[in-house]
C-alpha cells in the first residue's frame, strides 16, 4: 500500500470514540505496524477525539472529522473540530496542564506515541491536529 486515504465524520458523542479508534486502527493496518504501534495509534486517536468532545464542544453537539492517509509509507491522521479553539498551544501541550480538571496528559500522550504532532487552532473556529506515525520496521529499512 503506497498511497490511500479515507475520511470519517462523527458526531461529538463519547459513544463514537471507540468507533474512531477502530476505524483508524483498521486503516493503519494497511501499513506494516506492530501490534504495539497500533495500540499507540489508538491512544492518540482516543485522546484527540476525547479532547474535541470535552474541550472543543463542551459535550454539546458538533462534528469531528478524522482524516486518514498513507503517503510514502507513513500514516497521517488529522483530527479536526469546529469548536472553542486553544488560546495558548504551547501551554496546552505541557504535561499536567488542563482546563477541565483532567489529567492534562492527552496531548503529551499523542506527542510521545506519534512521530510527529502539529496543532493548529483558532479561538471560536476550532482545532486541527495532524499526527504522523511511521512503522518502526520501515524506519530501520530506510537507514
Amino acid at each position: 500500500m503506497s498511497s490511500n486515504s479515507a475520511k470519517l465524520e462523527i458526531k461529538s458523542l463519547t459513544d463514537n470514540i471507540g468507533l474512531a479508534r477502530v476505524t483508524v486502527a483498521s486503516f493503519a493496518a494497511q501499513l506494516d505496524f506492530t501490534l504495539s504501534e497500533i495500540e499507540e495509534i489508538k491512544v492518540a486517536v482516543s485522546e484527540a477525539v476525547s479532547n474535541a468532545i470535552i474541550h472543543a464542544y463542551h459535550n454539546d453537539e458538533g462534528v469531528i472529522e478524522i482524516g486518514m492517509a498513507i503517503n510514502n509509507h507513513r500514516l497521517i491522521i488529522t483530527i479536526k473540530d469546529y469548536g472553542q479553539g486553544i488560546s495558548d498551544i504551547e501551554q496546552a501541550r505541557q504535561p499536567s496542564y488542563t482546563t477541565a480538571d483532567r489529567m492534562g496528559l492527552g496531548l503529551v500522550f499523542i506527542d510521545s506515541f506519534m512521530n510527529d504532532l502539529e496543532v493548529d487552532s483558532k479561538l471560536q473556529e476550532g482545532t486541527k491536529l495532524k499526527m504522523v506515525k511511521i512503522p518502526e520496521k520501515s524506519q530501520k529499512k530506510a537507514t
Binding site: 459513544d15 470514540i17 471507540g18 504495539s36 489508538k42 491512544v43 485522546e47 492527552g106 500522550f109
Partner: protein, 112 residues
C-alpha cells in the same frame, strides 16, 4: 464494558471488562462510588484490569480518582494484571510510582 464487584474482608475487588475511556469511565465511577457508599468498613481496593484491552488518559484519570478516594481514607489501591497492550500508558504516566501492580488477586490481597 462491564464491572464485577466483590467484597473480601476490608477489601473491595473490582473487575473491569472492556475499554477504559471517556465513554466508559462515567458509569464505572458511579457504580463503584455507589458500592463504596453502601458498604461499611471497606478499606482497600483491588482493581483487576486483566480484561481491559484499552486505556487512555481518561481511563488513567478514573484510576487516579479511585486511588485518591481510597488513600484519603487510609486505604490502599492495588492493580492486577496490566496487559502488555496497555502497559505503555501506565509507564508514561508515572502512575506506577504510586500504585503497585500484582500478577493476581491473591498476591494483591496478601500485600494489603
Amino acid at each position: 464494558m462491564s464491572l464485577e464487584i466483590e467484597r473480601e474482608g476490608v477489601n473491595l475487588i473490582v473487575r473491569v471488562y472492556g475499554d477504559l475511556d471517556l465513554h466508559t469511565v462515567d458509569n464505572l465511577r458511579m457504580e463503584i462510588e455507589d458500592r463504596l457508599d453502601q458498604e461499611v468498613g471497606i478499606k482497600n481496593m483491588i482493581l483487576n484490569l486483566e480484561d481491559v484491552d484499552f486505556i487512555d488518559s481518561s481511563g488513567l484519570g478514573f484510576i487516579i480518582g479511585r486511588y485518591k478516594r481510597i488513600s484519603n481514607h487510609g486505604g490502599e489501591l492495588k492493580l492486577i494484571n496490566v496487559k502488555n497492550s496497555i502497559n505503555k500508558v501506565f509507564e508514561l504516566s508515572g502512575i506506577l510510582k504510586i500504585v503497585d501492580v500484582f500478577p493476581s488477586e491473591r498476591e494483591a490481597l496478601k500485600a494489603v
